[in-house]
Amino acid sequence: MSAHRHKRAPQRRHRTAPATLCAAALASALLAGCAGVTPDHGFAGVADSTRERIGATPRLAQDAAAAQELQEIVRAELAAPLTMDGAVRVALINNPGLQATYWNVGIAQAELAQASRLPNPALGFQRVSGQGEVEIERGLNVNLAAVLTAPLAARLEARRFDAVRREVGAAIERHALETRRAWIEAVAAQQSLDYARRVHAAAEASAELAARMRGAGNIAGLDLAREQAFQADAAAALARSGRQVTAAREKLTRLLGLWGQDTQYTLPERLPDLPDAPAELRDVERLALARRLDVQAAKADAEATAASLGLSRTTRFVNVLELGYAGKSERSAPSMRGYALSLELPLFDWGGARVARAEATYMQALQRVADTAVTARSEARESYLDYRSAYDLAAHYRDSVIPLRKRISHEVLLRYNGMLASTQALLADSREQAGAVNAYIDALRDFWSAQAALQAALGDRIDMPGAQPMPPAANRHEDHQ
């Protein structure tokens, strides 16, 4: 906004234009409460919603003291074998990348606070003298458009602040999901390693027995070589399994943001048991639409574009309206004061293009809402079905495959007792049993992974499947759609 020059402005006094004061007062009233930077950098709201949605509270390491406190929390959490939820808790307060993201909220809040403040008025003074004449021009200028549009701008910034908080919330949820998955993978890999060890031990015992039999002259070198080849393969599988453990654990460590001594954390020996029953969610689509951040974001975006469409409509001319105090005094003439007003004549540009653009943007936002909703519904269905079928598969292993394998092992042992089966048959069966248990671990891992994905797809916790048939969130938010 430009300053105005007023020739020979009065030297004695001047007064702020009443219209300007009026607008400023109005804007201040509108902005009351929105402005300001909070000590938590606006992060408390994010933390609250996250606690509700994923059961863990992210915390901002806003100064050295807070960082120290968080470090202690992390150490306490790492003192015992790290649970899946514990891993999420650690990641949300300890991952530096995530902490960096948290500051986006502070930045957005600061920008909102900035937008909420009235632009500073501009004071212009000009003194010109020559030929015995002194001409002084004074002007106090306020960007009237900025004042007039300040409430709207503040609302836009408030929305942006909301969007950033949602984005950060989404990042937290993504990180929580990744952490859960990494934790599941790491524990499963560790468990699989145990079984690779068992298989190798069986192969080793078998090969050793074969070597003794060879030594006693009871078997041929061919048979011994076959047993030893099997053991060699099992050793390779064991090494491969060890690599898998390292990779899975390091991925988890990265997500937890740990380094140095803290990387020595321990994990539980086993994945959590399969719940007695899977969660029965009757209306996953509604739940997803009500709870998912991307749906909320799309809706908020549409609302924001609607607002900006309204803004464009109301300011199509106003944004060129300039209002200023004008005062002029000449030594040789009485002082004059008044105001200057310029109004753009909408002869060539009626602002229609801007309005059309805003309208198009709004329509685009509406379609994005629809698209996001369709995707959310589909993902909710898919992840729920995936969760259920993962449950069924794991339950199949738990209830059918493993008991049958145990039964078989028992029967093979009975046959061994009766000299109807060989030691090698026993060991071969033990390897097969280990394979079945490993397949069960895989199925269990897939189940927990599917559960984590389902939580992410629904934007809600599924605590204690079966115990809580319908999360209360579904009821809380059912009038959203």
Binding site: R212, G215, G217, N218, N417, M419, S422, S430
Partner: protein, 458 residues
């Protein structure tokens, strides 16, 4: 297994229902026997007199006389036979048992045998060794139409020659004999004094392939049988042959398994008194202590039980005096298990080392699959007899009553007649001087037992 059993039962019931009452009215009763105990036969109630035989773990089939014809009624049907205590088998047999009841007739008897088929498939009966009209020979398709399920056929002929015979199906033999369809047949001489003995035992040798944990023999097995039986009983389920000292004893054996059986007697010398073809002139009889009985053959063995005691009588193929053992169990004899046993035990809780010093369990009993007999579980007064399968004992005792076939218990040895531990200094064994090995001779990888006595890890 269950479904097959149901199938058999269902089919048998359908077969039974199909026998018309009118037809059944004309045929003699078909007595049933479900116990596996030896049933000493009563003297013949009618017809020509004879000295009855004893079928260990079996019985003889009663008859009725009609118009001077001996009428028997055999019912071919599914049965459950106790192979030995602890193991039952789903077999096919006659009149409730496998083998079917022994048929006893006298030389010259006119015999009419009704055969009712309660099996799910066709059958026929071949009278093994009998000289009879071709149409009575019981070969389905060749000499007669097969007996359909639910149908009753009648065979009629004259038992022309005294001797030892068998009966078995000549329809789907692989399955039907493999399921236990067979029976003994004795034609006594007209003169009961001819070839008279004090005790006359008869049994059939048969074999089954019953998977440990299963109940029904695999009828597709050709040679790898795992249950070797005398009258479909395996030791220790075989009844002892109780004999009075100095009795003249005859044992007639028929072989309906798929391999030969060298039967061996302890403490006595026996002679082969009869073959499939009939009696052997006394001067031509072979003294033996082991008589090989070929597939499809019958032998009548005789001896005088002059030595009191409990004497084994068994097939000399050592795997025939054992119950089921795995065919592909590797040899662990002489294999040191120290260290490796614990490793295996970590993986397979309950694992115990076996077979490293031999296959004897030393009286150790371990849990086995259901319906499975221990390999060698016979127990005697001095411990484990470590026998199974085709094994029985001849118990020779003073003063047994005529016709008393009850087990007299273990023999009480006169003092000083039992082998005992020598506690004096052992005499130095005499060994031949070792011959030096030829330079290029491969040296066998031989290890003598190092005498370790404990299974490690247990």
């Amino acid at each position: 297994m269950t479904s097959r059993r149901n199938f058999i039962t269902g089919a048998a019931m359908a077969g039974a229902a199909a026998v018309s009452k009118a037809a059944m009215g004309a045929v003699p009763e078909a007595p049933q026997q479900s116990s596996a105990a030896t049933v000493p036969p009563p003297p013949p109630p009618n017809g020509r007199p004879y000295n009855p035989v004893v079928t260990p773990n079996g019985w003889s089939l009663p008859w009725r006389m009609k118009d001077n014809v001996k009428e028997f009624h055999l019912v071919a049907e599914p049965v459950v036979r106790e192979i030995a205590p602890g193991m039952k088998a789903n077999l096919w047999g006659y009149n409730g048992q496998s083998p079917g009841p022994t048929i006893e007739v006298v030389e010259g008897d006119r015999v009419r045998i009704f055969v009712t088929n309660r099996l799910p498939e066709i059958t026929s009966i071949h009278w093994h060794g009998q000289l009879l009209p071709n149409g009575m020979d019981g070969v389905s398709g060749l000499t007669q139409p097969p007996i359909a399920p639910g149908k009753t056929f009648v065979y009629e002929f004259t038992a022309r020659h005294a001797g030892t015979f068998m009966y078995h199906p000549h329809a789907d033999e692989m399955a039907q004999i493999g399921m236990g369809m067979m029976g003994f047949w004795v034609t006594h001489p007209k003169d009961p004094r001819q070839h008279a003995v004090d005790r006359d035992f008869v049994f059939l040798l048969n074999a089954y392939d019953i998977e440990p944990g299963a109940y029904t023999p695999n009828v597709n097995t050709m040679l790898d049988f795992n249950i070797w039986t005398i009258n479909s009983r395996a030791f220790p389920g075989t009844d002892a042959l109780a004999v009075r000292k100095d009795d003249r004893v005859r044992i007639r054996i028929g072989n309906l398994s798929m391999t030969n059986h060298p039967f061996h007697i302890h403490g006595h010398r026996m002679e082969v008194a009869g073959t499939d073809g009939g009696w052997i002139a006394p001067a031509a009889r072979w003294p033996e202590v082991t008589v090989d009985i070929g597939v499809g053959q019958m032998r009548a063995l005789e001896f005088t039980a002059d030595a009191p005691g409990d004497w084994p009588f068994h097939c000399h193929k050592s795997h025939h005096t054992m119950n089921a053992m795995g065919h592909d169990v590797p040899n662990l004899i002489g294999v040191d298990h120290r260290g490796v046993a614990r490793k295996i035990n970590d993986l397979v809780p309950g694992y115990m080392v076996m077979g490293d010093k031999g296959v004897s369990m030393g009286g150790m009993r371990m849990p086995l699959p259901e319906n499975t007999l221990p390999m060698m579980d016979g127990q005697g007064p001095f411990g484990g007899i470590e026998m199974g399968g085709m094994f029985t004992t001849i118990k020779v005792r003073e003063g047994l009553a005529r016709g008393d076939y009850r087990d007299p218990g273990w023999y009480a040895h006169p003092q000083g007649t039992v082998a005992r531990e020598w506690t004096g200094p052992a005499p130095e064994p005499v060994r031949a001087a070792a011959a030096p090995a030829a330079p290029d001779e491969p040296v066998a990888n031989v290890k003598r037992g190092d005498g370790h006595t404990m299974h490690d890890g247990h």
